[in-house]
Point group: C2
């Protein structure tokens, strides 16, 4: 099988490396700038640098770009994509792009399957990509209108390259869950480090500072796009969080230990019920 | 040297185990309930179970209890504490208890040094205590009015049992920093998991969910006391966080990518300036 990975950042680069390591696929790399392509050739992440006719050979096309760029790439190159090809994106949002990509796929006879690998690092770019980034991670598949066998092929590939769990969701379900599990922690991390106390934390911090602030080292260009394209679910999660923060704050202000303990204890019960 | 550890939870238990492992001190254990004492004897964390006259032999007394209980213990047993003894607490708050403990120490001729080991686990109790819990962790020393050599002795003990950095602070400085580095992440974690989306997160989450929610598995009895005894600095940090969340939320609502990216990018700059 020929796999084309277009966009060799941390996610595209890791997809190329993982597919190389765990399957027999032949991998073509494509990228806007030439340096990641050179590096990918040097370390063996790809077998060949893609050229004009590469998309005609692709059995699977992995889009490793930002959401809008992925739609643009497919839209501009739809004529060149093989009719038997399965195109997957790797974006963090789906409602804004999956219907458009499905539509283009239908018009041109190839398949589109939405794909979201729940893995990443605080750093970005091909240099930090890793063949084992996805080991044990969750993969979310957003089937849209793709044929069943195309969806199964992607699920099977995901398992092969190390993902632990594969779940299926509609674009709307995906975006609602991601607003909570991934986008909100990034919003929290940034808001948290904005406190004037943050720059003085050294010597006074432990694991809980480290954990909550980790993803504040954010790729602002990418996440501003993800946040705005998932505006409504994310704003709703931020509002819920602020309401819950205010409930705890009032408990602290009232100074009644039993009442405050009862509020906090709900956190323990939720985590325990989840087995965490 | 004789060390008495009173209160064998995760922190007291780990202090006993660490002092046992890394020094030649003889260790007495005291605890409200007998089970942790038995366990501590069985695993060699302590050399002897303390009795009525134990406090007269103590060169160092480590208080492993909740803040109010620590003050009560010292206040009720002040007559029995050796005049050459250095008493240290291990509490997460200082303004509400250090002045009282210093006062009792002065009246009875022993020394009191405030001590806060910046380490812990999501679980509590002697069973999860660990001789190496403090490896590389920060230790905050709140000297209050203790003699210089008593403060130095505690700093030197901290280094011996594995702490990486020892910093010094007034009770007020300590509480202000801890409100941000430790208490606020616990408030955030609880408020975060209160979202109705949380119970459905499995399959849709990655590292950022795991990190921000970790400490939601909270000891509500302890933290309600810590939060209320540090009311003003903590409420101030929660208010700052809510204001910053609202700034990001407005950026998302306005839908201008450059403006939102500029807000988020401040998070990256802060983390980078800290070398994180």
């Amino acid at each position: 099988m020929n796999v084309v990975v277009a966009g060799l950042g941390i996610i595209g680069g890791s997809m190329a490396k993982a597919i190389k390591k765990y399957t027999d696929c032949y991998i073509y790399g494509m990228n806007r700038s030439p340096l990641p392509l050179q590096k990918a050739m040097e370390c063996g992440a790809i077998d060949e640098i893609g050229s004009n006719d590469t998309l005609q050979k692709a059995d699977i096309l992995v889009l490793g770009m930002y959401p809008d760029a992925a739609v643009r790439f497919v839209s501009e190159n739809a004529d060149k994509i093989n009719r038997n090809c399965i195109v997957i994106d790797t974006s963090g949002i789906k409602s804004q792009i999956c219907p458009r990509l499905s539509q283009i796929a239908k018009q041109h006879g190839f398949a589109f399957v939405g794909f979201h690998p729940m893995a990443g690092k605080a750093q970005n770019g091909f240099d930090v990509s890793d063949a084992d980034l996805f080991q044990g991670a969750n993969a979310i598949i957003v089937p849209c209108d793709a044929p069943h066998n195309a969806v199964e092929k992607i699920a099977s590939l995901a398992k092969k390259i190390g993902f632990g769990t594969v779940v299926y969701a509609s674009p709307e379900e995906h975006d609602k869950m991601i607003a909570f599990t991934s986008q909100l922690p990034h919003v929290i991390a940034c808001a948290y480090v904005f406190s004037p106390a943050c720059v003085k934390h050294k010597g006074f911090s432990g694991g809980s500072y480290r954990d909550v602030s980790r993803v504040a080292n954010i790729n602002a260009e990418l996440w501003s796009e993800l946040f705005i394209e998932n505006q409504q679910p994310l704003i709703s999660e931020i509002d819920t969080l602020i309401a819950d923060l205010n409930e705890i704050k009032e408990g602290i202000r009232n100074g009644n230990r039993e009442e405050l303990a009862a509020i906090l204890h709900r956190g323990k019960l939720i985590k325990e019920a989840l087995g965490e």
